[in-house]
Amino acid sequence: MKLPDAPARMRSEGAPEGTPGKGRRMALVRNALIDYILSTFGLEEGELDDNTVLFSDGLLDSFCMVSLISYVESEAGITFRPTEVNLDNLDSVARILAFVERKSG
């Protein structure tokens, strides 16, 4: 799947997150993932727990999915195959963490 970058791609200095080098195995931390989703997609605290449905009820849209995948890929040092971009692997924080664990393990 050809995907654009995160919603606000800034060419000037001051970009909020650094991008770790590809290929390095890194950990995806639950709290950091939740913080990322809350701040990037403008959700409010209390709206999100491990099992909140992210996409199939429309909480997040496909633009958000693109950013979320880039984030998970760079944090965890993994790559989603096209067939792995599905609701089973992405529709909640718990599912994302489980997928990353399977993929890294």
């Binding site: 799947m1 050809k2 654009p4 800034m10 000037s12 633009f63 195959r81 096209p82």
Partner: protein
């Protein structure tokens, strides 16, 4: 039975197909008979709550069976359905509720809480909530609505407004396109005709019902007695799975979805034996994707089409001409007049280019509450006077070329409207929101070509001496704009922006400088 209004489309199926499945969503199915019963009961309740012919009722829901029931219940009463895309932001929802004085809103608990907290629900009289209604003013829970009831026998006429479809122009906030039952039925007949829809069809309902084109997915199936398989998420792997699990025969999507689906199928070829046709609208599919499309979908008929919210289902490129006219908008559909008008030459012929102008039943009634903007694109045409007198036609704002066989080719937009992922974005709406952040003195928004999304939004900002708070500005945009509107790139303009003769910022100079820097 002659079909005049939206609700007739359901009723027409009752004698022979009451037990046939009209809607599918996951494991849930609804027959035509059950759909009619639910819509009738809801119409009766709405009437009891004081909703009358001509009143505006809004629905702001993720793709669901309830969204369809609400649409047809409102149509049954002769009230006007205002479907606010679930992708829109709370400030846009508030604008729309206020702009057309919506009396009653259907939404889910989460959106209702967000909207109420932002003070966006002050203008409406009542609320129906999917989920718990407690803690919300004047709210009724969907599950507490009566399951049966009969609405008054009186019906709307086909000249009544059936819906308002909010879309953006080159300036200001989204405007509601006034659409009659006749506009919708006419478009429905045309689409079902060129797609050869039949009762055996099961089409994927992927496109949002907030766009007429999305609503037509439902109405074409109801016209022919087929089935709509609602698809809530636009993920290629999930779409392929639904098509095979539910034996889908046809599918409509915007170019952005086709680009993703083609890229997916190139890497993960999938057989979809039930699929008979696909159709696209809402912008150009890039040539590399078009070239691959027939290979990844062998044996599937491809219909490329063109139409606008203001004049829908206008031209179609039939499958048999897909290869030799690749990239064309096709030719006018049946029962549609399309003229290419050039200010000096008048009506254009083969080899010439000008603005695409629509004439006929497909022309909608203009923008709700905004006669001035309406008059700019809905007006008489001097060059057409010998043919149609002073009839109102619709100026599309799209410059097209006509070839020697009468096929139309898109050239460019005549205005500055930005088209991202099938949504029209007004540069001035983006600029107004950025201004309100208080983080920029001057801002210019513009569209930049993008391989996947058609165009993306860029902004140039100057803070005149102060450093621009990029992180803060990005955060503000994300919180106050729908995702398709959020700028992909922020160009920081050092010092003051150039001023044009009128004393305003010289937009053209700013945009050209940014684009030039981009290329370096």
């Amino acid at each position: 039975m002659v079909l005049y209004t939206l609700y007739d489309l359901i009723e027409n199926n009752l004698p022979d197909r009451a037990d046939k499945t009209a809607l599918v969503l996951g494991d849930a199915e609804l027959t035509y008979g059950e759909l009619a019963r639910r819509a009738e009961a809801l119409a009766a309740w709405l009437h009891e709550r004081g909703i009358r012919r001509g009143d505006r009722v809004a629905v702001h829901l993720h793709k669901s069976i309830e969204e369809v029931v609400v649409t047809f219940a409102v149509a049954r009463l002769g009230a006007i359905i205002v479907n606010v895309s679930y992708q829109r932001s709370v400030p846009q929802l508030e604008h729309i509720l206020h702009d057309c004085q919506v009396k009653l809103l259907f939404t889910d608990r989460r959106r209702a809480m967000l909207a109420e907290k932002a003070g966006a629900l002050r203008a409406i009289e009542a609320l129906v909530v999917l989920g718990r209604p407690d803690g919300l003013a004047n709210a009724t829970g969907w599950d507490d609505l009566p399951r049966s009831g009969e609405a008054p026998a009186s019906r709307p006429v086909d000249a009544d407004l059936a819906s308002l479809h909010y879309t953006s122009g080159s300036t200001g906030m989204p405007k509601g396109v006034m659409t009659t039952h006749l506009n919708l039925l006419d478009g429905t007949h045309r689409v079902a005709d060129y797609l050869h829809n039949c009762a055996e069809d099961r089409i994927l309902g992927l496109v949002s019902l907030s766009a007429p084109w999305g609503l037509l997915q439902v109405t074409t199936m109801f016209l022919r007695g087929g089935t709509v398989v609602l698809q809530p998420v636009a993920i290629p792997s999930e779409i392929v799975a639904t098509i095979n699990a539910k034996q889908v025969t046809g599918m409509a999507a915007f170019p952005v979805s086709w680009i993703e689906i083609v890229a997916y199928l190139q890497q993960e070829p999938a057989r979809m034996p039930s699929l008979r046709y696909i159709t696209s609208s809402g912008g150009k599919i890039p040539l590399p994707t078009l070239e691959v499309l027939p290979r990844v979908l062998p044996g599937v008929n491809i219909y490329l089409t063109y139409g606008l919210t203001e004049a829908f289902r206008s031209t179609v490129l039939p499958p048999e001409r897909f290869h030799d006219k690749m990239g064309s908008l096709g030719r006018p559909c049946r029962n549609v007049d399309v003229f290419i008008i050039e200010p000096v030459k008048g009506v254009c012929g083969p080899g010439e280019q000008g603005e695409l102008v629509h004439r006929g039943t497909l022309v909608t009634k203009g923008y709700w509450g905004d006669p001035d903007t309406t008059a700019k694109s809905f007006r008489t045409c001097e060059a057409l006077r010998p043919l149609i007198g002073d009839e109102i036609v619709h100026y599309s704002g799209d410059i097209v070329r006509i070839d020697d066989e009468g096929f139309l080719w898109f050239v460019e937009r005549a205005d500055s409207v930005i088209k991202c992922s099938g949504y029209r974005v007004s540069p001035t709406e983006v600029e107004d929101i950025v201004q309100r952040s208080g983080l920029a003195n001057h801002v210019v928004a513009f569209g930049v070509e993008d391989d996947t999304l058609g165009q993306v939004v860029h902004i140039a900002v100057s803070a005149e001496g102060r450093a621009v708070d990029l992180a803060g500005l990005t955060q503000y945009c994300r919180q106050n704009m729908p995702t398709f509107m959020v700028p992909q790139t922020i160009h920081v303009w050092e010092g003051a922006m150039p001023i044009a003769g009128t004393g305003k910022v010289d937009r053209r100079a700013v945009i050209e400088t940014c684009l030039l820097n981009d290329r370096k």
